[in-house]
């Protein structure tokens, strides 16, 4: 961790001027009292930026939030878990708009100042009948809280809420960046199946914020993969309200770079937290590709290795199977030469020049037995590199994802299908 950042508590509630709230609607299961509807609100105007799934099948809230982000600066975000509001057609758009309206009015905001996000099962209409009665309670609950209510309300198959916050000096002012994220399955580069909300009280003009968000997402959330499936709902939204009292950052200034470093730190922490909490994941694996001819070649190699079912199975089994790694390197479509490839696992040579290294197998097994380890793939053909953060694939992952039938049964009870 860069020593200039201090970890603080409070997630998205940590920056000044941001209030949060969460309530329980029973969206997925009417009998449950877990939090499933969250609200983040800046008490003062904000600049905002975001990135969205590149899946051509986009959930209704993604379409609505994209449109709102273009129209003006967001000041609040409403988000639910339990239903993705994806593949829901015109009704889905109506419902996403209604969720914006439901909080815009009591907050005295325009609909276009609200971002809306949903996560959960695809293809079933939102049970609005259980959401609508809760807007009042949601808005009434707003306050300078610690943000953990939002982090808790947006998770689905995650095993834990994931949030981080830091404070650091930007020129003469102390600023804060806080974030939370949900995501555990359907996680792949080019946006994971996830929602991520980040708030900051730094004073960051929109253009500057947009550029920083794009760059930081590329180096964090676009570097992780759990199961290689890209979702219909992925969204990162960042709100900057300047409540720290600092003057506005100037584009390309040194302070702007410092802010970007803080944003990068928060996003990378959250991205890694997503992998560590991946569905039935037992290993966190950093895959570093070095010595590629081009950045794109390095990326292709990293993605092929991190997505290979056979490689991920071997990690699950604690097997330092470099043969499967090099086979994925080979089919990655990157320009590689087998006889130049070196692979190390946990700092120990597994493969040198395309051949088995003489490291004792037990040493390599020890490296893979750790819950977190690093694999370095040196192509020895150039200077380009790429890093990805991946996980194993477990029998329990498949078992966990075998059926979503329960959702349909509930939807039928609700008269939605």
């Amino acid at each position: 961790m860069d020593s200039s950042f201090t970890r603080i508590k409070g997630g998205v509630g940590a920056p000044q001027g941001f209030h949060t709230s969460a309530v329980s609607c029973g969206i997925k299961n009417p009998a449950s009292d877990r939090l499933d509807l969250a609200l983040i609100h800046s008490t003062v105007p904000c600049s905002s930026a975001g990135t969205f799934t590149t899946n051509r099948v986009k959930a209704a809230p993604v379409r609505v939030s994209q449109s709102h982000l273009r129209k003006g600066d967001l000041r609040a975000i409403i988000a639910n878990s339990g239903n993705a509001n994806a593949c829901t057609g015109v009704q889905g758009i109506t419902d996403a708009n209604a969720m914006c309206d439901g909080v815009a009015k009591p907050l005295g905001l325009k609909r276009s100042e609200i971002g809306v996000c949903s996560t959960g099962v695809i293809g079933l209409p939102m049970p609005m009948v259980r959401v609508e009665p809760k807007y009042g309670e949601l808005v009434a609950g707003l306050g300078p809280k610690n943000g953990s209510d939002v982090a808790a309300a947006i998770i689905t198959s995650d095993t834990r809420a994931k949030e981080v916050a830091i404070s650091f000096d930007l020129g003469e002012h102390r600023v804060r960046i806080g974030g939370c994220v949900k995501g555990a399955g359907m996680i792949s580069p080019s946006m994971a199946t996830m929602l991520c909300f980040i708030t900051t009280d730094a004073n960051v003009p929109s253009e500057c914020l947009r550029k920083a968000v794009l760059e930081c997402v590329e180096e964090s959330f676009n570097r992780i993969t759990i199961d290689g499936d890209m979702s219909t709902n992925d969204t990162v939204l960042v709100l900057a309200n300047g409540a720290s009292g600092m003057p506005a950052l100037r584009r390309n200034s040194g302070l702007c770079k410092q802010f970007r470093a803080g944003l990068h730190f928060v996003m990378l922490e959250l991205a890694k937290a997503v992998v560590r909490d991946g569905e039935r994941v037992t290993k966190f694996v950093t895959v570093k590709v070095e010595g590629a001819r081009t950045y794109l070649d390095a990326k292709k190699v990293a993605e092929a290795v991190c997505k290979s079912a056979l490689v991920k199975s071997s990690w699950n089994g604690g097997d330092p199977n470099w043969g499967r790694i090099i086979h994925a390197v080979g089919y990655s479509r990157a320009r590689i030469r087998e006889e130049l490839v070196d692979i190390s696992i946990g700092g120990k040579a597994a493969c040198i020049g395309g051949l088995q290294a003489d490291t004792p197998m037990d040493d390599l097994r020890e490296a893979v037995a750790a819950p977190e380890f690093e694999i370095v793939i040196s192509l020895n053909q150039g200077d380009a590199g790429y890093v990805m953060y991946s996980s194993d694939l477990s029998p329990e992952y498949i078992d966990f994802n075998r059926s979503e039938y329960a959702y349909w049964k509930q939807a039928r009870k609700d008269g939605l299908v």
Copy 2:
């Protein structure tokens, strides 16, 4: 099945003039007496053609067979299971050449008339000390047998030997095509992790054979996927010896097309057999994409759906989860419009125009409960289509692939690592 083809027994031994043999070397496990070294031999000169893995990491026998196929016409194939002879460097090439020499001399052939194939674990040297003493027994065992010895000797994680043979009239002559295949894991389009040998007594000149093989592989083996991993050893070798007595086929003639139809039938049967015998597979799923703007768009959609871990998990669970299918359609990078997409499962509408169809969920569950079913994805944007043959992904697949450590332990006993 085209009524002009008659199924016959005998696999690669069915065509006239092909002899087969197989012996047990204990390549993977010295204590085992299962067949693991096979030989196919044409008693008369042949034309030959083949296709190989496009993985940039290529096993030594792939490199040697590619070279031999360019030099001249193969007349024999030696193949082993238990060790892939991949990532074995110069020693691997030496060993693959030695396997060719080992049978070339007693058969009175040149080294370049032998094709050589290996399948098994990657990265360990071939235990030649157990292979070399067996050449004599292997060649001595050659005879007009039923070919099932070859089919049995090449399998690894397969649960059964896979072979097919047909006879049909080509002009005034009856000809035969026989084939066998191995492959169960590391199966992906652009060649599966598999070996496939096909023999025919039709008289097919090399150029004509090469063209037919390329076309038929594209429509069979390149259409299947089990786990999305492309191997280092994939090989299809076809030998045509003309022993049926027919005159040589003329290029682009009607008879040439008839031969191609027969070859296509045999390859597609073998390709489907590979999927049905995929590692811990419980479902055989045909995915038909229709109405795409281009062939490439249709292919992208089919491949994304067939490779999605989440889609495959739902098939394993008997869950007719069209939401996961359309999410994979969306990230396939094909040009699709969500609101035009129809999806049917087992002939029943699951999704119409991007929205849930009103087919009762129990009807869809019934369709997915079958061991084999078809999914049709209609993009409604054009006339192009593509078909793939895929499987589910089971917890047992991951469990099965967690560790290959036993191989290393044996290799250490053998003094190879």
